[in-house]
Amino acid sequence: MSHHELDARRMLCPMPVIKTQNQVLKLTAGDTLDVTCTDPGALNDIPAWCRINGHEYIGHREQDDEIIISVRVGDGD
């Protein structure tokens, strides 16, 4: 299990979701990923994407104008 980070700043939805999806594909179940975004739409889209595709949205925190969304990779079912 390892921790990873993804920079999705200045990207507009759905790019942060696409980047998250493509990164998660390379990770294994149990790994965690922090995605840093500036588009608040990601706050809806990344958790929805997680629910649909069998991953876990752990939570988010906001720092200045940035939103850091944490995801735990599931087994894809």
Binding site: L12, P14, M15, P40, G41, D45, A48, I52, N53
Partner: protein, 351 residues
């Protein structure tokens, strides 16, 4: 000896986020097919964008309809970035454009072809779309249905559940994976049969896209894209170009440059992200928008751009407005200018 359980067939569904693809998908789920959704991001999609940029839209954050549809139906969704590959579709559409710069038929062929590639890589059996004959003047006509099948390479692995009864049998129907009797015969632009089917399926919340699914169907957007092409003398674009066409007021005072003026705080903040790439200006004596300059500009042009920046600031009625000019690759300069009046800005400058 007992019969082996028949293999569960798998379909990939093109999910736009609208009602039709939602119904087509539910129709397959109802027939016991395993369905996963696929959604292509071309850069022109209406989803999110301007809503994310403009502050007034932030109060009600917009959901991504494709994700929402997938979640409602309980299917997986794969969102694919096709920005680069899609350029050829927009720049050289074999079947031409619709009423604006929308290359709908080529776009449909492209998307079904990409879905077909995905199907082969992921060992799925067929593709479904929410197409309805006669629904769209360019891409959804009886004579274009076989064109999409042929040019995408999907051939008879492409099933349109909502109008299948008007079309020749496809592989999933012939093989008995799907019961043709339980498919539909919708035609035309009317929405009644879809609304009725939605009610029957228990779907009571759905997006109603007006017109097309992307900015290329929008006349104002298409005008700005053609302007960009003619000003540059070629029909190329980068993702930043097409994002910027969605934001701000665009004015072209001279053939060799245009300015992009933020209309409100959200747009200004978005444009700020492009400051390093562009010559830009803003007023310092009065509150005002951020102005990006795209193209080449000599001293007179920069003076004009500063007067325009002043015009769109709160100092538009003042005798003199101070403007900071950050020319790409040069030191910052201060210009004191007289704002242009409305009468001095020809309507033709507005794109």
């Amino acid at each position: 000896m007992t019969n082996p359980t028949p293999k569960q067939r798998k379909a990939v569904s093109l999910i736009s986020g609208g009602l039709d693809s939602m119904l087509a998908t539910q129709a397959m789920l109802d027939q016991g097919i395993h369905v996963e959704g696929i959604n292509f991001y071309t850069g022109f999609c209406v989803e999110g964008h301007t809503h994310a940029i403009r502050k007034k839209d932030k109060a009600k954050p917009k959901r991504n309809n494709a994700l929402w549809v997938a979640e409602t139906l309980g299917i997986k969704l794969h969102i694919i970035d096709v920005i680069d590959e899609y350029k050829d579709v927009v720049i050289n559409p074999k079947h031409g454009y619709g009423s604006n710069l929308n290359p709908c038929l080529d776009c449909k062929c492209f998307m079904v072809r990409k879905a077909h590639e995905w199907l082969q890589e992921n060992d799925f059996d067929f593709i479904i779309t929410g197409e309805v004959i006669g629904q769209r003047p360019m891409s959804q006509r009886r004579d274009t249905m076989p064109v999409i099948q042929r040019e995408s390479g999907a051939e008879d692995r492409l099933l349109r559940p909502l109008c299948a009864k008007f079309l020749p049998e496809t592989l999933p129907e012939r093989e008995g994976w799907v019961d043709r009797d339980r498919l539909y015969d919708f035609t035309g632009r009317g929405r009644k049969p879809q609304i009725a089917l939605a009610a029957k399926m228990g779907i009571d919340d759905f997006a109603q896209p007006a017109g097309g699914c992307c900015f290329l169907t929008d006349a104002a957007y298409s005008n700005k894209l053609s302007d960009l092409w003619s000003a540059r003398g070629d029909r190329e674009y980068e993702i930043d170009d097409i994002m910027l066409l969605k934001v701000g007021r665009h004015l072209r005072p001279r053939p060799h440059f245009k300015i992009i003026v933020g209309r409100e705080e959200g747009e200004n903040r978005f444009l700020e992200g492009y400051r390093k790439q562009f010559t830009h200006l803003y007023t310092t004596s009065h509150p005002g928008p951020l102005v990006l300059l795209d193209g080449t500009a000599d001293a007179d042009d920069l003076q004009l751009a500063a007067q325009l920046a002043a015009r769109f600031s709160q100092g538009k009625a003042a005798d003199s407005v101070r403007v900071e000019l950050h020319e790409k690759g040069a030191e910052m300069r201060i210009l004191d200018v007289k704002p242009l009046t409305n009468d001095e800005i020809p309507v033709g400058w507005y794109l």
